[in-house]
Amino acid sequence: MTDFVTPQEMAERIPSGCKLGLAPDDYAAAPGLVRMLIDRGIRDLHVVCAPIGGMQVDMLIGAGAVATLETSAVSLGEAGGAPCFSRAVRDGSIRLRDATCPAVFAGLTASEKGVPFMPIRGIIGSDVLKKRDDWKVTSNPFDDAEKIVVVSAIRPDIALFHAPEADRFGNVRLGRRRETMLLAHASKQAFVTVERISETSLLEDEKMAAGVLPAIYVGAVAELKNGAWPTGLYAEYPRDGQEVEKYARAARSPEGFQAYIRDSRSAA
């Protein structure tokens, strides 16, 4: 069921035009593989940030790979705003679907549960709601006096993220970061880069199993050491703040962004 591939093969399997679900920086972001998508010239992605984006999303936008961006935020954290994102917003080169974090989770939960929509409290009165034709205000069916928002299911074609470990059977250890589990459940299939591959099943240890994504959701696994660099990997290694700062400075101009990508390509 799960294919074991090289990172390059994994990048080749992610087609232009697909709906791609991505994890936040410093949890399970996969900038290592995203760099390969950029290098191979991927285009027209519908990127779903679950629920926010960072450097890997900014790079995809800078490279012209993103047609639609569905996100609750894009930020480089302590390194400040996301320069390519801000530029693309200004010049209108991406279609924006601004969201709020729990509404992204609600949309993914709808897909996880196989229902076409999920109700969610709050949001009414926010301009975010006004811009979303896939969200609606309805009444609580058990109390007509309450207005409540419903959001459509979000079903990415591929969830792409980086994790500490997979086993030879395709099971992937995520740990307590359940948002990646939710993203994988909600997506048609998950592609996962990992730090290392275990020869023994990760499901055998009962204490560990609760944090393991079963192979039935995992389409492909590729070993890619430091695949989260320069962002961090939750509970494994911190972000390389200097490198992200370097990126933030470079990407202030389109030329600087291109130079950063060109210069760092050879390192890959």
Binding site: P24, D26, P51, I52, T71, S72, A73, V74, S75, G77, E78, G81, A82, F85, S86, V89, R90, D91, G92, L96, D98, A99, T100, C101, P102, A103, F105, T109, I120, R121, G122, I123, I124, G125, S126, D127, V128, L129, K131, A145, E146, K147, I148, R176, R177, R178, E179, T180, M181, L182, Y234, A235, G241
Partner: protein, 248 residues
Amino acid sequence: MSEACTSRELMIYTISRLLRGVRHVAVGQSSPMPAAGAMLLRALNERDGLERVQVSILGSVKHNSFTGGAEELFDCAAQGRLDAFFLGGGQIDGQGNVNLVGTGDYPNNPVRWPGSFGSAYLYFLVPRVILFREEHSLRSLVERVDFVSAPGVSDETVYRRGGPHALLTNAALFSFDREAGRFRLESTHPGYGWRDIRGTTGFAYDNEQCEISTPLPDEATLALMRSRIREELRECYPQFAGNMPGPG
């Protein structure tokens, strides 16, 4: 005699005061001062034998009481298990509306900020939301936000048990009256008078001629910030912690 209390330290201390009585406070991404204020309340309560405060810092491995990922924060808020949270805002207006999206017209805002994060949800469900915006200016505190990420008040057809509790800047502290939908000036920080606040605040508010000065932390509290809190912050905010006063 230690270095005088900095502006940031005063804000951290003020946050800890605004949180008094909460049992569970969560702090979002990229929020070093709210994180520090929550940690300070926890440390003070421990020192003074008061109720234990649960601090959940998104992005922390050590200060994290969740085991279900980021959605657990939102679920917890919806279940009523979260007493306080913080929101910033590129713009905040006099009705408590916050704008985290950008200035000018959406979608092609000339100045774009990261985005609304969880604001459009948590503002409705967390009883005590503290608005925190260091910059106190006509640019940040406006008559009407250009984009409502999250509204300050709602009508009775909308389920709402949360909302703005206070607004803290580097110059002053406001409370918020949810019935009236208006801020009230509670105190000005050292170095600022009520006229300064009036001149740099873009919206109308009550108690304009407030003469109260925001209380400073005592020496012991300041020492706690410069030792334990600074160390606790280092995990998620190494740069911020490095810039705080303290030994070494």
